[in-house]
């Protein structure tokens, strides 16, 4: 039928068989061709379930009770086969790592077409077309495993576009990208919509998505739609604590609300390193170089010192060497040349377990470390290994759980928690070890805005740390929390300065694949008045 809208949803309800409550309730919406619809909300609000209903994984792969109707181009989705749905709705998942199947880019992009049993010649043609469209034809014969995060995301998108869907469904497509790659991705998405594609974008980084002017937006909470309408009315209706809005909007909204409990004043003269001699060197990188293959250094000429009282944000593009750099700090990697000292001891003569007594390292992916039957036991694992006393451990565990806002989950199996909660358990597992130095690799990845602000606040208020270092893609994290910014690019330090100094030159930021945020711009504008950086909520009260 012509004239049918690409997507119409009427009174949709869904309950997973494994749960007692509805995951989504009374959802009704419709989208026109060529429009972008933003679907925002905190984690657990039902946005991923809604996406799964649209692409047909619910109820086919995820079983449950579905009522209501979803019409794709006028056809009931439950009456279509998954193969038919996949030709109408192209889905790009949050993490391209979890979506890419092919070993080579050509195979990956061709995968869906192979399954549809198209002739070989047509497949080759369509693959080339999809890659050209995204301006990545040069990737055709590359191995997918060796692509950068941004390239992987584009290849995953190409694999979906090759099937020529009329609806593009993107589930948090920006989550694993550095800011410049995220901006690239957004521009591509806008131009696809302008060519007539219907785009549904599930995202809680609302600020970034607003740049491409979605026609309509939905804000979800507890499985229900709280706002549905033009994007212009969106900022008034959403809870600005739950999704990340542009700084100006937050300031406008927050000035009428009571001031945040803790102003940054507390934070910046944070408890980190307090009561001891500030500035004392704790971890020293001296002329560090590292490589896996001779002649192709991953790190070179790295020189810096983590001092007592430092809260360091490490910024830089995907693949710049940030993780390799911090893995040296805990001795998981030993430098090929140069000297690495932790607490005065050479890392080449110290085991990782010994270093773990002074330096706690939180890995990027929680699924690589969680194993215990309960959260409590998971958290006790580190302190027990470090031979903390049996009286101290329960106290350390309780304390750590409080900080990550998981009190009451002591007896839960960590593996049954949501990804965001697992991430917080993995942070708590290191916090419980009471290390003096805390190192975190992408602590906020996969977390919603509200949660990460919450636990970053708490960690910085936690007494006992001499220094904190975290890797992040999010400039705002550096703006709000750091007192020192280190930028890594091409395996070496390109900047090491106070945030106001390090982040003031936008050209320099762009060179390092960072994109200035509204919060950074506002802070820089207000700097003469405020004297230093604040979060948006705080700015509302500091300035007004």
């Amino acid at each position: 039928m012509s004239g049918d809208k690409p997507l119409v949803i009427e009174d949709l309800n869904f309950r997973y068989h494994s749960r007692e409550t509805l995951a989504i309730k009374n959802i009704s919406l419709s989208v026109d061709a060529g429009q972008v619809l933003l679907i925002a909300g905190a984690s657990g609000c039902g946005k991923t379930t809604l996406a799964r209903c649209i692409n047909g994984l619910v109820p086919r792969s995820y079983k449950g009770d579905l009522t209501g109707q979803i019409l794709l181009n006028g056809k009931d989705v439950t009456k279509l086969s998954l193969a038919q749905v996949s030709q109408i709705v192209g889905t790009v998942l949050q993490d391209p790592e979890r979506q890419i199947l092919g070993t080579k880019v050509a195979n990956e992009v061709a995968f869906g077409l192979e399954n549809l049993s198209l002739p070989r010649e047509e497949i080759i043609e369509r693959v080339a077309e999809a890659l050209d469209h995204l301006k990545i034809p040069q990737l055709l014969n590359r191995e997918t495993f060796h692509l950068s995060g941004g390239e992987k995301q584009k290849v995953a998108l190409a694999g979906v576009l090759a099937m020529r869907p009329s609806i593009l469904l993107l589930d948090e497509p920006l989550a694993s990208l550095d800011p410049a790659s995220a901006q690239d991705a957004l521009d591509i998405i806008r131009s696809l919509a302008d060519e007539g594609m219907t785009v549904l974008m599930v995202e809680h980084r609302v600020e970034d998505v607003l740049r491409i002017h979605p026609e309509n937006a939905i804000f979800m909470m507890d499985g229900q739609i709280k706002y549905y309408g033009p994007t212009s009315g969106f900022d008034k209706s959403v809870n600005y604590h739950e999704v990340k809005l542009p700084a100006e909007m937050i300031i406008e909204r927050a000035k009428d609300d009571p001031a945040p409990e803790r102003l940054t004043t507390l934070r910046k003269e944070s408890v980190v390193g307090r009561g001891k001699q500030m500035g004392e060197p704790l971890v020293k990188f001296e002329d560090i170089a590292f490589w896996y293959e001779e002649g192709r250094p991953v790190l070179h000429d790295v020189n810096f010192t983590i001092n007592r009282g430092d809260v360091i944000a490490v910024l830089g593009p995907n693949g710049a060497g940030k993780t390799t750099l911090v893995k040296h700090a805990i001795g998981l990697l030993k430098p090929k040349s140069g000297r690495m000292t932790i607490d005065g001891k050479d890392s080449s003569q110290t085991s990782v377990a010994q270093i773990a007594q002074t330096l706690g390292y939180v890995f990027q992916s929680p699924s690589h470390m969680l194993f215990a039957p309960t959260v409590e036991e998971e958290l006790a694992f580190g302190p027990t290994n470090l031979k903390h006393s049996t009286e101290a451990i329960p106290h350390e565990v309780a304390n750590a759980l409080e900080i990550v806002n998981l009190k009451g989950h002591e007896k839960y199996p960590p593996l049954a928690l949501s990804f965001g909660q697992q991430k917080r358990v993995s942070i708590a597992a290191i916090l419980a070890m009471q290390s003096k130095i805390l190192v975190m690799d992408e602590p906020t990845a996969g977390q919603d805005y509200k949660n990460y602000l919450g636990f970053m606040d708490s960690i910085l208020q936690m007494p006992g740390f001499d220094a904190i270092l975290f890797i992040t893609h999010d400039i705002d994290m550096a703006v709000i929390y750091a007192n020192r910014v280190i930028m890594v690019n091409d395996g070496t330090l390109v900047c090491d300065a106070k945030p106001a100094e390090a982040l003031k030159d936008f050209d320099f930021l762009r060179k390092n694949r960072l994109v200035p945020t509204s919060l950074l711009k506002t802070n820089l504008d207000l700097l003469p008045k405020t004297g230093r950086f604040y979060s948006a909520e705080e700015l509302a009260h500091v300035v007004h």
Partner: protein
């Protein structure tokens, strides 16, 4: 995401064949090797294996770790076989002692004695060369085949689409498992876990391995769920499949297959005629 072994085009003998032809040859080779216990016959298979290894053009540093592991493993079991003579007793009846080593000390009233016999020696040597031939042919596979071809190799050998793609994923699961294992190891080390300090009884030791085994297993399960979703979302398994990659047999591939089949048939014939049983050279029997 599934990791694949890095593929390098080396213009080597093994890579000059269609991988399907090579898989058929390899299967014939394996079947042929396990038929024999005669050291002289096994030398023939061993020399084929060496031919492929020495023409493989794989730099030593790339495969040194795999080789060291395998050599260590084989030597350990060969020596064990040699010392105990286990497994060989079905192949020979009497033993001819070459020398007898008697320790000049006693353990709980028992004097350790080692009977070096001609049979034990030859059995250990035959075992060594046999396993070594198989291992060295197998070790070449991940270094020589293009991972992008895994699926089409199995499809080309006559397996159905779904099974062939499943084999493709399985082949790539091995290096992925390795990567996940080392990531988990690192994450647990950072929590003060030291595998070197495992103590206690067997049960306690297994329990102490949980921090490694559980995350790796869970990761594998979660990873396969992601893979299934990703496949479903792109219409996998709805009907017959086109394979983008194409393999074509050339003359040399047919020759290789023919050689493989001849070797296998000849081996079976010789074996039926009673050749190739366990052999001890006459001079050792004195």
């Amino acid at each position: 995401m599934l990791v694949a072994w890095r593929y390098v085009q080396r213009y080597s003998l093994i890579q000059s064949f269609d991988p399907r032809a090579w898989v058929i040859f390899f299967s014939c080779f394996l079947a042929g090797t396990v038929i024999f216990w005669d050291f002289r016959f096994l030398l023939f298979f061993f020399s084929i294996a060496l031919l492929f290894v020495f023409t493989s053009r794989i730099p030593w540093k790339d495969m040194s770790r795999a080789w060291i592991f395998i050599i260590g493993f084989i030597l350990f079991f060969s020596i064990l076989t040699f010392l105990t003579g286990r497994g060989g007793v079905e192949l020979y009846q009497g033993e001819h002692t070459l020398t007898k080593l008697v320790a000049n000390f006693k353990i709980l009233g028992w004097t350790p004695t080692l009977n070096i016999t001609a049979e034990k020696t030859m059995y250990a040597l035959s075992m060594l060369i046999r396993v070594f031939s198989i291992a060295s042919m197998t070790i070449l596979i991940p270094y020589s085949f293009n991972p992008a071809h895994y699926g089409i190799i199995f499809r080309g050998l006559g397996l159905p689409d779904k099974v062939a793609y499943g084999m493709d994923l399985t082949m790539r699961f091995i290096p992925t498992f390795g990567r996940d294992f080392s990531l988990t190891m690192d994450a647990q080390k950072a929590r003060g876990y030291e595998i070197e300090k495992l103590g206690g009884g067997l049960f306690a030791q297994v329990k102490k391995l949980a921090p490694l085994i559980v995350p790796v297993t869970i990761h594998a399960i979660a990873g396969s769920e992601d893979i299934i979703d990703a496949m479903d979302l792109r219409a996998f398994g709805v009907g017959p499949r086109t394979w983008l990659e194409k393999l074509t047999y050339r003359k040399r591939d047919y020759v290789l297959i023919a050689i493989g089949v001849v070797i296998l048939l000849a081996s079976m014939a010789l074996s039926l005629l009673g050749y190739g049983k366990f052999w001890v050279p006459g001079f050792l029997l004195g």
